[in-house]
Symmetry: C2
Subunit: 345 residues, 2 copies
DNA sequence: AGAATATGAGTAACCGCTCTCAGAGTTCTG
DNA sequence: CAGAACTCTGAGAGCGGTTACTCATATTCT
């Protein structure tokens, strides 16, 4: 059962399936471990015949270098990690794809750690993930700033998604939620809406906070705003919709597309026509909201750009170059069928 | 720039930010490395005062053991990995959650590798992921059996999701697609449907194959079956719906819920009433299809069970116990509003 | 031909941590 | 009070690689 290889003495008794290490290959090929290492790493200054012998031995034994040992010796792992609070969120999936591909081009692999929205585990998870790899893309919108600030030195190099961290210089990729909200609101106002509901996301969420702020600011003297606690999922949006009916609002701004979709669905069940009786807008532009009935008006976040940009900056950090400027992506207003003129009362 | 710590001589010239290793902590606390190791691992046979000193030193220096070095020394990493072909698939997300939680209970972490449906990269990815951790949960429905068989010895210990591997004894968790399809079909038949369309998934997908087989078998002498190439996404289902109108079918069996949802949505746009004019069923029971309009009848796969069961078996393998029997989960028929009596023609 | 220079392979130190083993210091026993 | 039985701690050998250095051999130059 022992994992340790038996140390020369008392070597029998066990069938001794000798582990295939660089040493075994070296012995088999009749060369030194250094030479095997050179061959395995494609160092050209090894004589052809030796290299041949080594390769043959490695082949026969089915040898592959241990990434763990290699990482230790090299001081780098060739891996980056991304921590997300919820893999189910299509938003992150977009980033993940882009990041995976971008990193792969430079022969880095991406591993994903999912904190499952478990706020408590997040710091530990982040540090553990980080320590096993060379860099981190961190998405922890709910983590208190001070805590993150404490962690920051241990996490470096890392790139932040969707938040900034005053007090620690590290690249951030953020989305201009305020601008997105402004565009949506402007659009709704132009359609004559003057009383809006906001279906709020999780109140610990920084991005929800940004939306709320933008809304309040825009509302001043222009329109009435009713804030409804809701959540971030389809089910949340579905559940909250019933409350909308007696609020006298003519338009709904949802925390995100999923919520909007859920609300849309429920309104349909309630026989409320969208957009004739009620307009509704989402946020994100996740893949399928262009197909809902009616298609959802939303603020489209170009998620496919974030992955590569995150990689670029992380790469710069890992190579002691200075990363490019922070990105503050401005969503594009995507007008579809879920918004229309405010009904005359 | 050099990563290597400068070797005692020529030690100045650099500001020498000495890395915080176990050695430094030991020196600072005035004990041996062994003792630091003991303290860090909670070994109780260390005198209180020493332990105290070590902890203080570690704290001051901000020391945390290197997981890489630890893994090498221990011969285990405390990590398992799961390889999925597509993180966007809600089905995998369900498994991932369950697996993360189950593994966490035993102090294992779960890392996710996403092959992005990249069939070519999959073997490399699987092996690399596996070699950096202690076990693998593999979900590679499209990988040819022979290739997987070749890889198997290098991947062990691993658990297969959604496929079996004749010729290599390793646990499998599979879903009884055939039974699910049979239940759905029986349901539709009982409602009087006699001509069905199947919206096929990716044709390389084993699970699609299983569905097709079951459908053909069920169809014999009972009903007519029209097979339509489609896909696995909401968009695919949406796009294919237009073809349904002139097929004279009264019911549609979709590859999965997303496809069904897409189709549902498009049919609605086309003014086709579901279920009055057309019944439609999905597969999986992903979280929100209970809220669609109408709610989707589907074969509900208990995804939350798969994660823990996968962990249980993987754990057994990693600890040289014999894993429990393979699981072949039978989906439960979930009758909702999207199915109704066949319209009389 | 003899010296200078390349070239290629091996030796051994090191990455950071764990763990066996043995020795020093204590407490128990007879 | 000597010797046995424990308790702790430190020394040092790994884990499986990489790489600076060294040295023997082959090559080139004068």
């Amino acid at each position: 059962m022992s994992n340790r290889s038996q140390s020369s003495e008392r070597a029998h008794a066990q069938v001794s399936v000798e582990r295939v290490t660089i040493g075994l290959v070296a012995k088999t090929a009749g060369v030194s471990r250094a030479t095997v290492s050179r061959v395995m790493n494609g160092n050209p200054r090894v004589a052809q015949d030796l290299a041949q012998r080594v390769r043959r031995a490695a082949e026969e034994l089915g040898y592959a270098p241990s990434p763990v040992a290699r990482s230790l010796a090299l001081g780098r792992t060739g891996i980056i990690a991304m921590l997300v609070p919820d893999l189910g969120n299509p938003m992150f999936q977009g980033i993940l794809h882009g990041l995976t591909d971008a990193a792969a081009q430079e022969n880095y692999r991406l591993l994903v750690a999912d904190s499952n929205e478990n706020l408590h585990e997040e710091p530990v998870l982040a540090i553990e993930a980080r320590r096993r790899c060379d860099g981190l893309v961190l998405c922890a919108p709910r983590m208190p700033a001070e805590q993150l600030l404490d962690l920051a030195p241990q996490l470096a190099p890392f790139v932040l998604i969707n938040r900034e961290l005053p007090g620690f210089a590290t690249p951030s990729l953020t989305i201009d939620f305020a601008a997105g909200i402004r565009d949506l609101v402007t659009h709704l106002l132009s359609l004559g809406h003057r009383r809006l509901a906001y279906l709020a996301g999780p109140d610990t969420s920084a991005s929800n906070h940004a939306r709320v702020q933008a809304l309040h600011k825009a509302a001043e003297g222009t329109f009435e705003l009713v804030e409804l606690p809701c959540g971030a999922t389809f089910a949340d949006g579905h559940a909250v919709a019933d409350q909308l009916t007696d609020l006298q609002v003519t338009a709904v701004v949802a925390y995100n597309d999923l919520v909007a979709f859920g609300t849309l669905s429920r309104l349909h069940e309630l026989g409320i026509n969208v957009p004739a009786q009620m307009s509704i807008v989402g946020f994100d532009d996740i893949p399928f909201v262009r197909y809902t009935t009616p298609p959802l008006t939303t603020a489209s976040v170009p998620m496919d750009q974030l992955g590569p940009q995150a990689w670029e900056r992380l790469w710069a950090l890992m190579n002691d170059k200075s990363p490019e400027e922070n990105v503050h992506v401005r969503p594009r207003l995507e007008v579809r069928g879920s918004t229309g003129p405010a009904p005359s009362r």
